[in-house]
């Protein structure tokens, strides 16, 4: 468990060029590595017909590979508005499948609300807890610190189900059965190893002189945290929030076990149940529409925040 792995990635949290994978100029120097002739990165732009002839198979193969990854998504998006017998969208293009989805059981808006509620509460709790905890782990010494940090990381070692069954019993015992708040609490706990690690190294990358100067000026540690440190660890917070949102929005197993009331179900659960709606006859069109509704926010967030997603990997937070 190397907590100081790649501190350079976070040394200046505002400089995005440290996120090497997405910084185009970073790898340019490696392109010359031994002239190993691997694709366009290793040679200069093609100027001759021979160059283009050599390059064409490369474009075709890699482009085909990319298409293979994108095809299921594109196909689903298109066919969710295409006609299909046995669905609400029998002829012509349109949003019939989305209409089926909208009216399914409690209605899509209820499930959208539930999912949004659980996701935002999980993100909020994860951010607050890992911000405070990361600050404590990076800047304070207190008895039991190492034990607590290791216990947090140990969550990773324990299978999901091993914890969910007793959690089901415990939440029922404290009156949080069928509760979206209960689901958010559980999902927050599962996010803690990654988030705590991420926030700890984010704080550790901020020079101590910064907050110590503020301390000398008479600021309390609370004010130092909010006025000096939060701006400095903001990229870490965005990464933590993004991972928490994706995990919570997409989680299937926690709501499956903890929620049985159809009005409290989250979107993945509702859409999974949708398949057996009418006597085992699967409404494929509505399922496609459901997948689009589920996937769209994630893909958009991912494309907008790709840099921050990649940072989660660069941090070494997966080196559990």
């Amino acid at each position: 468990m190397t907590t100081t792995r790649r501190p350079s990635d976070e040394s200046d949290p505002r400089s995005d060029s440290t996120i090497a994978i997405v910084a185009p100029e970073y790898r340019a120097s490696r392109g010359s590595r031994g002239g190993r002739g691997r694709g366009p990165g290793t040679r200069h732009a093609p100027t001759s017909f021979a160059g283009i002839a050599v390059r064409t198979p490369y474009w075709v193969v890699t482009g085909g590979l990319a298409l293979l990854f994108l095809y299921p998504l594109i196909w689903t998006a298109i066919s969710s508005v295409s006609p299909l017998p046995g669905t609400n969208q029998v002829d012509g293009w349109g949003f019939g499948n989305y209409a089926t989805l909208a009216n399914y059981q409690a209605g899509i808006w209820v499930y959208l609300f539930n999912s949004t509620f659980v996701s935002l509460l999980t993100v909020l709790l994860t951010l607050v807890i890992s911000l405070l905890g990361g600050y404590a782990f990076a800047r304070f010494r207190f008895p039991g610190k190492d034990l607590l940090f290791l216990s947090t990381l140990a969550i990773l070692m324990v299978p999901y189900t091993t914890l969910l069954i007793p959690l089901y019993v415990l939440l029922n015992a404290v009156g949080l059965s069928n509760s979206l708040v209960g689901v958010a609490l559980v999902l927050t706990m599962f996010q803690l190893p990654f988030s705590m690690f991420m926030m700890r190294i984010s704080f550790e990358a901020v020079p101590r002189e910064l907050d110590e100067a503020a301390m000398v000026d008479g600021c309390s540690s609370w004010r130092v945290l909010w006025q000096v440190l939060v701006p400095a660890v903001k990229p870490g917070l965005i990464t933590v929030g993004l991972f928490a949102f994706l995990a919570a929005w997409n989680d299937f197993m926690a709501p499956l076990i903890l929620i049985s009331d159809t009005n409290r179900m989250t979107l993945p659960l509702a859409i999974s149940n949708l398949r057996g709606q009418v006597q085992g006859v699967v409404d494929y069109g509505a399922t496609e529409a459901g997948v689009v509704v589920l996937a769209l926010p994630c893909i958009l967030l991912f494309l907008i925040l790709q840099r921050h997603y990649v940072r989660g990997f660069m941090s070494g937070a997966f080196k559990g």
Binding site: T3, T4, R5, R6, P7, A20, A23, P24, R27, A28, S29, R30, R33, G34, R38, G41, W59, T62, A66, L70, L73, T76, S79, L132, A136, R139, F140, L148, S151, T152, I155, P159, Y160, T161, T162, I165, P166, L167, V169, L170, L185, L192, M196, R208, S221, D251, F252, M253, P268, Y284, G285, T287, V291, L294, A295, C298, I299, L303, F313, F318
Partner: protein, 309 residues
């Protein structure tokens, strides 16, 4: 998995030296107050359930009836003698081995393919990564339709040639592996890229001067230096695959002919579908937990031993 490079070790030492310069400047009580929410979550939602599952595994505990007293060795005996236990263990292991080999080989290939930074490779990286943004449940639902003999893009072909994706045990297994590879290849590619970037350029330069071929460079420079990353990705992939649930729950429901029941699916069905026996489910969970710890320690040991050679 401590893979501290010398430079990083030096930096870590410097950091702890900085820390020592201001011993106990800030109160332990303040520190604890900031760590309190973490401690509460770890205690109440992690440590307590862990103890409870141990107790459950030794108790007669029906889903709706609550704790009915000790039932210690019997739960474990029942768990192991469940008629799907060994089948599910074998299937889970088979699935894990196949998935880990295919996924890691492919993601390493993808990482090598896109490691230089050009606009085109950036686009490729993004395409490979987009499926990782989807949840496993969403991806499984997507492939459920994709593999459908009625609505899928291959429906016509399936009818003409008379095959199905999910209708046979082998078909269901490979179709699920394909889904998992699609969903996770980008994720592991990114981890591999991070590892590849840790290999210094001058090592490649030296290999080139020595006249090493591309394959020789890969075998004797890239692979050995990538070992920490390979260890990490193997542990992650094995753990994830051993605990597989959603993909089979949604795609195959354990079928056809109960041929694709994983161990976690077995736990779920013992606890919530029919048998409703939390005691036996708890016993199974504890068995899985112990097996996972043993398997992970063995993997880390194996990778470390290789490193010493």
């Amino acid at each position: 998995m401590t893979a501290t490079l010398p430079a990083e070790a030096a930096e870590a030492a410097a950091a702890s030296a900085r820390r020592r310069r201001h011993p106990g400047r800030r109160g332990a009580i303040t520190g604890w107050l900031y760590a309190l929410p973490t401690a509460l979550f770890v205690l109440l939602l992690f440590a307590l359930p862990l103890l409870l599952v141990l107790q459950m595994s030794g108790s007669d505990w029906p889903l709706l009836g609550g704790n009915q007293g000790w039932n210690f060795p019997e739960n474990y005996q029942d768990a192991v003698s469940n008629r799907f236990f060994w089948d599910s263990v074998l299937f889970t292991l088979k699935y894990t081995i196949l998935t880990t080999i295919i996924l890691l080989a492919l993601s390493l290939g993808l990482a090598l393919l896109v490691q230089e930074s050009t606009r085109w490779k950036g686009l490729l990286r993004t395409s490979f990564l987009v499926p990782s943004a989807l949840g496993l449940a969403s991806a499984s639902l997507l492939f459920y339709v994709l593999y459908s003999p009625i609505a899928g893009p291959f429906a016509g072909l399936m009818k003409a040639w008379g095959f199905t994706f999910l209708g046979t045990p082998d078909g269901a297994l490979w179709s699920t592996i394909f889904l998992i590879v699609w969903r996770y290849a980008g994720f592991y590619m990114l981890l591999m890229l991070v590892g590849l970037q840790g290999i210094p350029d001058d090592v490649y330069e030296a290999a080139r001067i020595d006249g090493a071929s591309r394959w020789q460079t890969f075998r004797s420079v890239t692979l050995p230096l990538l070992r920490p990353t390979l260890a990490l990705t193997t542990v992650l992939c094995v753990t994830g695959s051993l605990l597989a649930f959603e993909q089979f729950y949604i795609l195959t429901k354990g079928g056809p002919d109960n041929s694709t029941i994983t161990i976690v699916q077995l736990i779920y069905s013992v606890a919530f579908q029919g048998q409703n026996d939390l005691g036996v489910a708890g016993a199974l969970s504890v068995i899985v937990l112990l097996a996972l710890i043993v398997i992970n320690i063995a993997q880390i040991r194996a990778f470390n031993r290789k490193a010493e050679d």
